[in-house]
Each structure stands twice: as C-alpha cells, then as structure tokens.
C-alpha cells in the first residue's frame, strides 16, 4: 500500500515540477522507497537488496516479460539501470545514456557524446556500468574520460567536464555515485600506467571539489612503498562504484592493481594504496583509513569489487562492518569505522598465498609470481570475483556472490612506459572450458563460511540481486537468467535470454507491481508477474 501511495505522490511531484526529482534524502532513504532504484547498488550500503516481496518463492515460476529494449550498438552491456518516477535510465556501450519509458520500454531520449576515433581504451572492453541520478540531473562517465551531466527530462547537456587526459590512458567505465551535492567518480586505465584517483564534482556546476590520488606522491604517507619514480605511473585505478555511510560520513571506494600489472621489477614495496579499500571523507577526499588486501600485487588482484556495508553481531559484538569478496579469492570483513581487519576466508580455490596473518596480510608465494614461460595459479586472471555486483540480504544475513573456479597461466613480459600505450608487463591465459566452472555462493556475511552454492557450467560475470521475496536473481554466460531460493540455493525459475548476462539485476515497481530488470547480450529485459 505504501508503495502505491508513493507512486501517486511522485506522479504529482513530476507534474508540478516544484520538487527536485531525486533529492539526496530520497537516495539516503532508498530502503523505504523500494518502488524505485535510485543508486547503482540500490542503496548507499551497496547491498543490492530489494525490500519488495510480491515476487516470491511461490510465484516466481509465473514471471513473464513486461517489455524488452534492444540496444542499437553492439558491445558488452554491463549497465545497472536507475529507475525513478516512471523512467528507467541506462547506459549503452560504449558511452551512450538513454531514458526509457518505464511502462513500455520506449526511448524518451538518448545522448551520445562525440568520442574521438583514436580514443584509448586499454585494459577492458569499452563498457559502461550506468548512470547516477541526483535532483533533476543524470550523470555518467565516458570512455574518453569525461563526466557528463544531462537534464533528466530531456537528455540535454547541463555540463561536460574532462576528468583527465584520455591520451594518457584515463577512461571511465564506472557508474558515478551521487551523494549530497556531489558526484563521486573513479577512473580506469592502470594498464596504461595512469596514476589513479577518486574525484568529487559539484553536482550543479561540474567543478571539481577534490581529488584523492590512490598512489601517493613523494613525501606523502605511503610514498615509501614505491621504488624510484614508479609511483608516477603506479596504476591504482578506481573503476567500480563504491558505497557510502551517511552516518559515519565516509565513502568507501576500492582501488585496482599497481602498474605494470605482471612485471614488478620497477616497483619494490607494498605499492600503497593499490589493491586497497579506502575510506574517504566526502567533504575533503581525505583518506580516513585504508586496508590493503594484496600488498605488492603481481596478479592483477584489483580490489575494486563492490564494498557492502551492514551492521551485525560479530564474535559477540555489534559492529558496523564493510565486506568484500576480493578478486584475490578471499572474502574479507572489516570494521568500517576503523578499517580493522576482522576476518577473511577463501571463497574459491586459490594458490597464490599461504593464507593470511592475523591482520589479514597475505603470505604471498613468490613461486606463484608470473614468469616469461608462464605460472599456473588459481584463481585465473579475472579473479574469484570481480566487478560484477554481489548482494547482501539483511533477511538471511547472507552475502551472495557469483564466483569463478578457474586456473590461469600468468606471464611476465616487458614493460616500457609511453603515454597512452599498454604498460601491463605481461598477461594471462585462462584454463577455461571443461576445466573450469562457476557457482553462485551464499556466504555467512560475518564469517565468509559457505552456506550453499548453485553450480554454473562456466565462470559467470553476472551481478546478483536478492529480495525480500526470498529470492536471488542472477545470470550466466550462456544466457540463462534464473531465480534461486535465497535460503537454500535451489533453482526456482529460469529462462534462456539468448546472450551473456553481464549486468546486475535491479527491482522496482510498475503500476504497483514488482518488476525485475536485467540485460543479456545487448537487450534489456523487464519481468513481472502476469
């Protein structure tokens, strides 16, 4: 009932035009307005959990498509839709923002900036993970490293800011994070030897408010963890959207690999703050604490996975924690006020470290380092998990993660820095096919202990959504989209969508009825009950 009242209210708000469409308070209160999906991971805690329970274990088998939108460009789709006030906002590869009528899927506007033909995108496919919304404006990043603000009603440009120089390899794939008056954005490009950062921009003007380098310069704390001048091209990109605790007033943002990825000859030391989680003061960008998961990484263990915030009883004490299923194969639980290490557990097979010490620092095996002739290591280069969103259900207390069980062969190669060219120093090959598999795993969120798993034929790249209806939605590389029982992992519904599912599902209501949206291939599907 409350949901329907809210929709009526928002209808009048839209007609009168007297109110901002999605003010900050509405995002901060996202859990009490589950009819919409107003930030990347559904709420600032990045739980990707929907409070809606109309679609549940009993009726999920009746799901039917409400509509399908086919994107105009080929490419890999990783967008997480934003839904507010009868409109769905998505991005299409590589850098197009589009608004769709929520009732029909018909486009309302689309905006494609001019992307130079010689745009430099090294280290990933030219993807985009979605927009952010704040007040009446939609924000998204581009592959030539602009941050663009569009009028939410018309798609007309409000401002267009160059975040950094694409000629040096900076580009954007992450969805921005909108908080009170500010747009936080991270960058990609460590494979070209960028020096990474997290930026905050004034939502109204597009002017930069602060920049926090993820690789400290000479004299700054952490600079001693770099050899010579290696910090200048030290990597540490920030290519997945972080989370935010409005009460602690801290933004949590993961950082990527040091550069060159697989050749560490020039960068002795821990290489702070690469492969870390940063807790940032959103007013100043100051690093309040950091936790480095993989000091001196040589396997590309980006720590840009989505950090999920929740409060729980841990070892008999109520704590505010942040957790992450790291690319390096371990699931970590940290105190999110202090960054204190609480616990970590391997959630996939890993062979690169002989475990972790009491503070969570790995005993990395040097015989697992990349070599010219190749070194076999678990997990493979894409990690046990990576950019695809996990989900946390406060109902079950479980952390749901699409995991990859696969070995990789890691090669060390030459690395020579030159602006805008590859500075990766090697690479990897995966032992895929019948030698690998995937699994959706449900971990006890406070311990990382495996509660259940649902096996997949191949290692997935799918995001997950858990719901108050007791379901976990996810996809597969082979195009399956399915719902699992959140308590047991039992599959309850499945449909072949005909293309790889590489985006995270979201949930919202349409005419008071719960919907689930997900992309597969280059199509976006919306499902509801008949």
């Amino acid at each position: 009932m409350r949901i329907e009242r809210f929709e009526v209210l928002s209808f009048f708000m839209a007609v009168s035009g007297a109110f901002a469409q999605v003010p900050y308070q509405r995002i901060a209160g996202a859990d009490s307005n589950p009819s919409t999906w107003v930030t990347y991971s559904g709420n600032y805690q990045a739980q990707r959990f929907s409070q809606l329970d109309q679609i549940n274990r009993q009726n999920v088998r009746q799901l039917k498509p409400s509509w399908v939108y086919q994107m105009r460009n080929s490419g890999i789709v990783e967008t997480s839709p934003i839904v507010a006030d009868g409109v769905m906002y998505i991005t299409e590869p590589p850098s197009t923002a589009t608004a769709l009528d929520l009732r029909t899927g018909r486009p309302l506007w689309t905006y494609t900036p001019t992307i130079p033909r010689d745009v430099i995108i090294i280290g990933s496919p030219p993807v985009n993970r979605g927009v952010a919304i704040l007040d009446n404006t939609v924000f998204f990043g581009t592959v030539n490293c602009h941050l663009i603000a569009l009028d939410a009603k018309s798609g007309i440009v409000r401002w267009d800011t160059v975040v950094d120089d694409n000629k040096k390899g900076y580009y954007i794939t992450a969805a921005p994070l909108a908080i009170d008056g500010k747009i936080i954005i991270g960058v990609s490009g460590a494979e070209t030897g960028i020096r990474g950062f997290v930026d905050a921009y004034d939502a109204k003007t597009g002017k930069r408010i602060w920049r926090t380098w993820t690789v400290p310069g000479p004299g700054e704390p952490g600079s001693e963890s770099w050899g010579g001048q290696s910090w200048q091209h030290g990597g540490g990109s920030t290519w997945v959207t972080g989370s935010y605790d409005p009460d602690l007033h801290l933004v949590y943002w993961g950082t990527g690999n040091p550069a060159p990825d697989w050749n560490d000859d020039t960068r002795p030391g821990d290489n702070l703050y690469t492969c870390s989680l940063l807790a940032l003061d959103p007013d100043t960008g100051k690093i309040k604490w950091h936790f480095q998961f993989t000091p001196h990484d040589v396997h590309d263990w980006d720590s840009t996975e989505v950090p999920i915030l929740f409060d729980a009883d841990v070892q008999g004490r109520r704590r505010k924690v942040v957790s992450m299923a790291n690319r390096n194969g371990f699931y970590y639980v940290l105190d999110r006020q202090t960054g204190e290490f609480i616990t970590a557990t391997a959630y996939v097979k890993q062979t690169w470290t002989d475990g972790l010490d009491a503070k969570g620092r790995p005993f990395a095996r040097r015989d697992a380092d990349p070599k010219v002739e190749g070194t076999l290591v678990y997990p493979a280069i894409s990690g046990g998990a990576n950019w695809w969103s996990p989900s946390y259900s406060p109902r079950t207390g479980l952390f749901y993660q699409a995991t990859r069980e696969m070995a990789g062969i890691y090669f060390k190669g030459d690395a020579e820095y030159k602006d805008g060219t590859a500075y990766a120093g090697g690479g990897g090959e995966t032992k895929n096919g019948d030698d690998a598999y995937g699994a959706i795993r449900a971990l006890e969120a406070t311990t990382g202990k495996l509660r259940w798993e649902f096996k997949l034929l191949t290692p997935p790249l799918t995001g997950l959504l858990s719901t108050a209806g007791g379901l976990v939605f996810g996809g597969a590389e082979e195009g399956n989209f399915y719902a699992l029982d959140a308590e047991t992992g039992k599959p309850l519904w499945e449909l072949q969508l005909g293309g790889a599912v590489r985006s995270p599902p979201v949930s919202f209501t349409l005419g008071g009825k719960q919907q689930i949206a997900v992309t597969a291939g280059t199509s976006l599907f919306v499902f509801g009950l008949p």
Binding site: T430, G433, D434, L457, E478, N480
Partner: protein, 260 residues
C-alpha cells in the same frame, strides 16, 4: 689505407653487434614462444593440436605484419586465443622467431596421399566425417584438417581418438570445451541416451546420439549426466588399419588444406 681498415673494422663490429642483437631477439622470441605457443604448435613449431609452423608461407600470416596481427589478436573461433598484450619489441621478437621456424624443414610425412584417400574410403571414415561436402556429419569435418592439425596429432586421432578431443575450433560449445565429448544421460523416467555433447548450459544439454538424432534435455529431468572425458565415440583404428595404410591415411589427411 688505415682509414679504410678502420671503417672496415667499424663495419664488422656493427655487423657483429647487429648479429648479436638479432640472436638475442631470436632467443627472446623463442622464450615467449615456448611459454605461450608451444602447447599447440609444438616445441619447435612442429605442430600438434595446432598447425605446424615449419613452412615457408603461413596461410593466415603471409607477411610479418599479418603474423604480428595473428599473435596479437588470435584467430577468433579457430582455437587460437589472444594470449596477452605484447610490447612492440616482444611482438617483433616472436615474429622473428616464428619466421625462423619457416626456414627449418617440416617433418617429412611417410606415406602417399593418393593411397591414403583410398584407405579413407574403404575404412568407412566417410560415414561420420565430411570432406568437401561429402560424408556423414556425426564427427568433425575434415575438409581442411591438414591446415589445422599436425601429422602426429592426426595419427593419434586415428589410432587413439580419445586421447585428444579437439578444443576450441568450433564456436559452439565454445572456447576451451572438449568438442565431440561423449556423454551418457539417464532421464528421470529411466531412458538412457549416449551421444556427443552438441552444446550445454547450466540448465540444459543438447546431444546427438550415434544415429545422429538430436536430443535436448533440461538437467532437472535428468537422473544421471555422465561426461565421458577421456573417451570418444570414434572407434580406435589401431588394429583396423595396418601400418603402411596408416601412413598413407595420415599423409592424405595432412594434405587436406581446404579451399585456397
């Protein structure tokens, strides 16, 4: 005179240095090749699951530029992966080394392709394999198998077909998967089907049985799904084809280069 001798000496030093540098590059190329290419193309390019490279002209890489592109990008849907990103120097070294393999002699193939064709025909191979549009379709097409596989691999595929099922040549079931993998299915109602896996996902599997009949199962309807890794539906021809005939058959298969 003295000045001339000096120039000569400088020139010879330059040539020597050039030679030493080329030697280093060649060695670097060899190291890279050993790590990333030898599993399929053989330790010295003699071939295996992938084609041998001891030939003066590579069909997909007629010049250095094309060769560099193949190393850099792989050959999608032909089993050749893009392994990793290379610096220009690494690419150059690999091109140099692979070109040097083209100047070494290919392993001589005993046997006569003409006689081998007759062996192929009388041994019933065409009941399961297509060459130039003719034959049965249960097994892999062989029209251009000589361009994709080295003779030793072809020999093994005849005498011990289960030892090395092909991987990653066909776009379906996909990179890294065993192709023509025998599977045995027992349905919930007790029906048994044995055949080759055509495709599979987490919820379903598609199979062709020995009479080439297509089956599609939802895994939830299956009691047993056994993937018979290490087996093949093709009988082994070790005993059926005597030594000289086998040489001829391998020579015939190795000669199959497909449309030029």
């Amino acid at each position: 005179m003295g000045r001339f001798a000096g120039v000569l000496m400088l020139m010879s030093i330059a040539v020597f240095q050039l030679g030493a540098q080329a030697g280093r590059e060649l060695e670097k190329g060899r190291q890279l090749f050993l790590g990333m290419c030898s599993r399929c193309h053989g330790v010295e390019g003699g071939g295996g699951e992938g084609p041998n490279l001891n030939r003066p002209v590579l069909s997909r890489a007629p010049d250095d530029q094309a060769l560099a592109a193949v190393i850099r990008d792989g050959i999608p849907d032909r089993g050749m992966p893009r392994v990793r990103r290379f610096t220009d120097a690494e690419l150059h070294a690999m091109v140099l080394y692979i070109r040097s393999l083209g100047r070494t002699a290919a392993v001589a193939i005993a046997g006569s392709p003409e006689k081998g064709k007759a062996v192929y025909q009388r041994s019933g191979c065409s009941s399961c394999h297509i060459i130039d549009g003719e034959g049965g379709s249960l097994g892999p097409e062989l029209t251009s198998v000589g361009a994709h596989r080295a003779p030793d691999y072809l020999r093994q595929a005849v005498v011990d077909p289960a030892a090395a099922l092909p991987r990653g040549v066909l776009p379906i079931p996909g990179r890294g998967f065993n192709e023509f993998l025998p599977v045995r299915v027992v349905t919930q109602d007790g029906r048994e089907v044995r055949g080759i896996r055509v495709n599979e996902d987490s919820f379903t599997i598609q199979i062709r049985d020995q009479s080439n009949q297509l089956y599609s199962f939802r895994k939830s309807d299956i009691q047993t799904l056994e993937k018979e890794v290490g087996q093949s539906l093709m009988p082994d021809y070790q005993a059926r084809i005597p030594g000289a005939d086998l040489d001829d058959l391998v020579a015939y298969l190795a000669s199959l280069g497909g449309a030029k």
